[in-house]
């Protein structure tokens, strides 16, 4: 297993390199001059724009720009934002904990609800719980994020005044305020994934519960709770873990709309602003981070498989 993990970690390097090249090419190929964009409607003096392009090295040929970027990146310097002049690494690390907090809370909420309600829905098929769960699933995938977010703000922030209408408060400064402000955006972000996960847990468990080995377990007189928790769950969770793993990797992208609605200062908002503004260094940094998070999460998923199903082994076969 150790060798397998090491092999996967080493494989991340060429993949990251490939991702950096593809992203670099794509963003530079997309129309729009970043200098002209952040001049916007204010100043479009071509002399000034040309001077700024030269200052930022944007007048160099693309391969030269990439090589310069790569040289610096290998030393831990991912450049500076073209818009704000903030170092890219600083911009990302400043915001990443906030995105992780929001994404983590949403994932935890999603997983807990999916596991609990999905299990009940599967065990008590066609019951009230099952029907409600199905309804919630449909609502969760149908309601757009931005709409749900605004509705939650209006209802719980304005009408009932239970939660603040957005914003972020540092946990270290005021943990209670931080958690209060986390509730609505976490629910918003969790809505679609909860629906998906709940459905997956339910159908996966239903499939496993109908298997012969569980009929044998029932015939032997085991309680239903023991059958579900000890024998059915582990097998049912294998496909579910795949989806969870992908959702972990997708935390960065999923938070984009939620962070904008709730003015949560995370990486998602940074990504949107940077893509729209053709802020090449920042986009490069964020996409690289996103790729690495996907790779890390799929590695964790693969390792979990081995724990869930002892038949799965990553040892290399001897001759």
């Amino acid at each position: 297993m150790g060798q397998y993990i090491l092999r996967r970690l080493l494989l991340m390097i060429p993949v990251a390199f490939l991702v950096s090249v593809v992203v670099f090419v794509l963003i530079h190929l997309s129309p729009g001059d970043p200098v002209a964009i952040f001049a916007g409607g204010e100043v479009q003096d071509p002399v000034v724009i040309a001077a700024v392009r030269q200052q930022y090295g944007l007048d160099q040929p693309l391969p030269a720009q990439y090589v310069i970027w790569l040289e610096h990146a290998l030393q831990g310097d991912f450049g500076r934002s073209l818009r704000t002049r903030q170092p890219v690494l600083e911009a990302i690390t400043e915001r990443l904990p906030k995105t992780l907090e929001l994404g983590g809370a949403a994932l935890l909420l999603s997983i807990v609800i999916a596991l609990v309600v999905g299990t009940i829905a599967a065990v008590r098929r066609n019951s009230v719980v099952d029907l409600v769960a199905t309804g919630v699933t449909i609502a969760g995938v149908s309601l757009p994020n931005f709409y749900l977010g605004i509705v939650l703000i209006l209802v719980f922030g304005l009408v009932f005044r239970v939660f603040p209408p957005g914003g972020y408060s540092d946990f270290a400064t005021d943990p209670f305020e931080n958690l209060k402000r986390l509730v609505l955006p976490a629910i918003t972000l969790a809505s679609a994934s909860t629906a998906l996960n709940l459905r997956q847990v339910r159908s996966s468990l239903l499939d496993v519960l109908s298997q012969e080995y569980l009929r044998t377990a029932r015939a032997k007189g085991l309680r239903e709770r023991t059958i579900v928790m000890r024998h059915a769950w582990k097998n049912a969770l294998i496909p579910v873990v795949t989806i969870f793993g992908l959702q972990v990797g997708a935390i960065l992208e999923g938070a984009i709309i939620t962070e904008t609605i709730f003015f949560w200062p995370g990486v998602g908002r940074l990504a949107v602003d940077s893509i729209n503004g053709r802020d090449y260094p920042v986009v490069q940094g964020i996409v690289l981070l996103s790729a690495l998070s996907y790779m890390a999460s799929t590695l964790v998923v693969d390792v979990l498989y081995a724990w869930l199903d002892p038949r799965i082994s990553y040892r290399s076969r001897s001759a």
């Binding site: 729009g32 952040f38 000034v48 001077a51 002049r85 904008t260 003015f263 200062p265």
Partner: protein
Amino acid sequence: MRSARYLVAFLGSFAILLAACSGGQQPSGGGASPSTSVMATPGGTMTFALEDQPINMDPLLSNAFIDRNIHYQIYDSLVRIDSSGKIIPWLATTWDFASDGKAVTFHLRTDVKYADGETFDGASVKWNIDRYRTTTGSQRSGELASVDSVDVVDASTVRFNLKSVFAPLLANLVDRSGMMLSRKSVEAGGTDFTRKPSKAGSGPFVLTEFVQNDHMTLEKNPSYWLKDKDGSQLPYLDKVIVKPITDGTVRLTNVRTGDAQIMNNIPGKDVASLKTDSTLVYQQKEAYQFNSMIPNEAAGYVFADRRYVKAVSMTIDRQQILDTIAFGVGAVGYGTIAPSHFAFDPTFKPYAKADPDAAKALIAQIGAPLQFELLIVSGDPVQLQEAQLIKAQLEKAGITMDITQLQFAQILDLQNKHTFKGMTLIGWSGRIDPDGNTYDWVYTGRPNNAESYSNKQVDQLLDHSRATTDQEQRKSDFQKAQQIFVVDDPAAVWFGFGVSQLLYTPKLKGMDIYPDRLVRFATAWLQK
């Protein structure tokens, strides 16, 4: 019986007296108007919900409208405007133009220090202006292109030597081009000066915290030079926290819940109800901002024949666009000179009524039907709605308009290269002097002249308007030029002007509203 009648009469009188005391003094409709008769209470923290994230705190490099909302709190300019748009003394107390107009001497305040303790003086003015004029990549160089050099006459007197007479100079010095910063703080800040707290300004507040996409904290400048009429030190507020909230509904919710005390840029759909909401104060004033459709008039494109531009201008119903899209918030417009500009002509209404029949006749004269593409920014539902309304209006004149949605970056690219096929929907935040709304947009070869428009007479009139400080002469020049580039030989289709807006809690006093859509908190205070 008699005693009962007396009792009723007494109770009735008492009721009338109560009604007179409680009902008569209350404000109607939109709540309390800004009150200055009550003594201001110093202290307190106010949260301002701003429509977007400020990016750059260096006036040298800043090119986003939103940045200026912060600049005006932390920096002072040589001159400023009052709430009517009139230029008033600020760091410069008086100024004298040379008889030939090629120099202007500013007499400076002698009681101003920057927040870092450095003294504001003639040398500081020279350093700042030279920095704006000559630094590579300066976004202010165009605005100060008329300045040849700056001489320090003495510590409180500087002379700007101009290459030629340039009437809009004072207007440019109101804004970023005239903002004075401490050299010591700017140089100490280095590359990070644009985005980190500093004490470089002499304004009412000092930027003490700047967390991107989260908040900015402005704290009272204890050595601010401005005092109120009673001689009390300004500002009154101890702290202003600025929160960038891009969604208008969320911004409004924050003000309603008290998480923010003031916001700008109120969604049009909410204005009517807010005007009658006594729990909040709504203020509105005509602004310099304009909205327009910019055609590509370069050779080979359909609008190279400007009669087509005129046909579009004749057909659209500007009032309907204002009422439907902006919920009536704003003003109908036909050109670049806004109602708040000194050169505005309220009788200039060339297309007061939409006339699709006249447009049809004009197109028939040209001999070929008009079909063109309108580029709008993707992901903007309001712009899409606006485009759809315009499309429906143009159909009445037999004009076919296809709507294409692209990213802002792509549209800008096509505009800068003058390769867009039809028209784009463009707005401009507006400038104090009508020259700032006009020159770069219609003068031959200028940066914002995306339409590739050129008319010698317009160029001459605009050059003449720059070369004289006689306001009446300038007014005449602008109005004659406008007649040409709007009606006789149209450059674009202008259809409206925006408004400045503020919405705030009645506890907030001392807020004035300005036509440049920027906020000023120096005189704001919170009633306890």
